[in-house]
């Protein structure tokens, strides 16, 4: 499990939440909100899907850590490692 894997996981989740968004051009260093039409309901869903699929908790105070794919990788990677999530 690498940070790149984590980014892929997040991107897949966004694909499920917002199937009408084109994700092929998303730049991992830029804020997701600036590249995609995502609102606070969608960000809540990213958090909810992380919990549902991987048992990973993101407290409300940390939502801002999910602003870009890079920051998602940084913030979520240790959580995934701790959970011992293995990629099939």
């Amino acid at each position: 499990m690498t940070k790149e894997d984590v980014k892929k996981i997040v991107l897949n989740i966004i694909g499920e939440i917002a199937p009408d968004e084109d994700l092929t051009q998303v730049k991992s260093g830029l804020r997701l909100r600036d590249q995609l039409e995502l609102d606070s309901m969608d960000f809540l869903d990213i958090v909810m899907e992380l919990r549902k699929k991987y048992g990973i908790e993101v407290p409300e105070d940390d939502y801002s850590r999910l602003e870009s794919l890079d920051s998602c990788g940084e913030y979520l990677h240790p959580k995934f490692m701790q959970k011992g999530v293995a990629l099939a």
Binding site: D20, D39, M41, D42, L44, D45, M48, R51, K52, E60
Partner: protein
């Protein structure tokens, strides 16, 4: 099995939702999707609440839905319809929406056309009210920049706010009338946030209808809820919410069963829900019972409306420059209302409804209707049906009823009494209580309100209400 038929006595649920209308079903889908043990209770045998349908003499009639507001075309993002589809993980195509042909607001001596392209309405306003051109632009700017869905907006009068910008009282009434008819629980006014919600949903966005009517949407929601493992019990109302101080201890059901829940979301209405609570007197909320109720008549025809030259989708009308939107003194007030022709949507090649439908809605007095003895009730229904039909034909440009009468297959009529029966709303209040609980909270800490009395409006609004309340109070605990 999603539709519980066995006994649920003694069961415990993470969340119980009261009411299988649009908001309750949407809340249920959210909760079931995220693995909550959720039960929806519905007193009737049909889902949909105010927006439902029924069969009578082999014909299916829609209740509620004239038009689904909030329609936007595929690819338009950041609007309520898109949010609902995303949140419920539904395909846009599943609702099978077709756009309106065109609608009108008709007042004495002046009319405004509109369709799903805002430019038409804008140009109509400028044509009919050239002296208000700049002011109307200012109003539009205010509406565009206003965050109407913020849950902490203060309640203010739309009439007062609009009058600060628009000077011509006729234009104010012409803008307000359709918005009030499609969602105001207050007489002759609405809350400004509600006004913005409605303005965007009717004029910026627009009208659409599933080819099969409201049952298409209900079917999609029920299927989604079922495949996610949500449970639902029909013909099972809540008799009493048993409290322990400011907490829900248990729910006593109509059949005598008792169940428990961590949290309860009710779409039964604010006052209605509080009155279910064991320690609340039956007078709770007496000052917050809606007075807006209506009568609706449906005339079924053996011809398409366009064959009579009727091309409109929806007509909003007022006989008076100062439109009246209030509980009438008589059984019905025919001076203003809505005419709806469900055939007049762009369903596409080869898709025409089997029969022609002409629906007419006007405000009605709940007390007067419920006081009538049965025989007089039936006679009054027929009498007012005729009054409203004459009115609609006049507006549609048909000179005599004789042109239409031979083509009438059947008619059906509902009154405030019917609304009370199907929605449980006190006084048959079409849009619930005049004062809403925007954040869905009640004095009881694990009891929340969604739907009409939370205050998002229309079918899309109702779904968004259920979603928002499920998110805010169940899925995203603020602790």
């Amino acid at each position: 099995m999603e539709r519980t038929t066995g006994s649920i006595d003694g069961n415990h649920y993470e969340t119980v939702i009261i009411g299988a209308g649009m908001s309750g079903l949407a809340a249920g889908i959210r909760l079931a999707y995220f693995g909550k043990n959720v039960l929806i209770l519905e007193r009737h045998n049909a889902a949909g609440g105010l927006n439902s349908f029924y069969s009578f003499q082999g014909r299916k009639y829609d209740v509620g839905l004239h038009a689904m507001t909030n329609f936007v075309r595929s690819g338009t993002k950041g609007t309520p319809l898109g949010k609902v589809l995303r949140q419920l993980r539904l395909e846009r195509e599943s609702f099978d929406l077709s756009e309106q042909k065109g609608s009108r607001i008709i007042f004495p001596g002046v009319e405004l056309q509109f369709n799903n392209d805002f430019e038409l309405f804008e140009s109509e306003v400028i044509r009919a009210f050239p002296h208000e051109k700049d002011n109307f632009a200012k109003l539009i700017e205010l509406i565009r920049s206003f965050n109407e869905v913020a849950l902490d907006n203060e309640e203010t009068s739309a009439r007062v706010e609009i009058a600060k910008i628009i000077k011509d009282p006729l234009l104010i009434d012409m803008i307000l009338l359709p918005l009030m008819y499609y969602g105001s629980a207050q007489e002759n006014d609405m809350d400004f946030s509600q006004f913005v919600v409605m303005f965007k949903s009717l004029f910026f966005e627009g009208f659409a209808r599933p080819f099969e009517g409201v049952r298409q949407i209900i079917r999609v929601l029920l299927k989604r809820y079922k495949e996610l493992g949500g449970q639902r019990k029909m013909k099972c109302g809540v008799k009493q919410i048993i409290l322990d101080k400011d907490q829900v201890k248990a729910l006593e059901l109509d059949n005598g069963d008792t169940i428990t829940a961590d949290k309860v979301i009710s779409s039964a209405g604010l006052v209605e829900t509080l009155r279910m609570c064991s320690d609340h007197p039956t007078t709770t909320g007496n000052d917050n019972i809606g007075r807006i109720s209506c009568m609706e008549t449906t005339t079924v025809l053996n011809k398409e409306p366009s064959e009579f030259g009727w091309e409109d989708t929806i007509l909003f009308f007022s006989d008076q420059a100062k439109a009246e939107y209030a509980c009438p003194k008589n059984l019905v007030d025919p001076r203003s209302g809505v005419v709806c022709l469900p055939n007049n949507y762009q369903y596409g090649e080869g898709r025409t409804l089997e029969e022609g439908f002409l629906r007419i809605t006007a405000l009605a007095n709940f007390d007067k209707w419920t006081q009538l003895p049965e025989e007089e009730y039936q006679a009054s229904k027929k009498e007012w049906h005729q009054v409203l039909l004459d009115k609609a034909l006049h507006l549609l440009g048909t000179k005599t009823i004789q042109d239409v009468q031979p083509h009438v297959i059947t008619t059906d009529i509902f009154t405030p009494r019917t609304i009370k029966k199907y929605t449980g709303h006190l006084a048959g209040a079409l849009y619930g209580a005049p004062h809403k609980t925007r954040d869905g909270r009640t004095p009881i800490k694990d009891l929340f309100i969604c739907g009409t009395d939370q205050g998002f409006l229309g079918i899309v609004g109702a779904m968004l209400s259920g979603i928002s309340m499920a998110n805010l109070h169940i899925l995203q605990p603020s602790s």
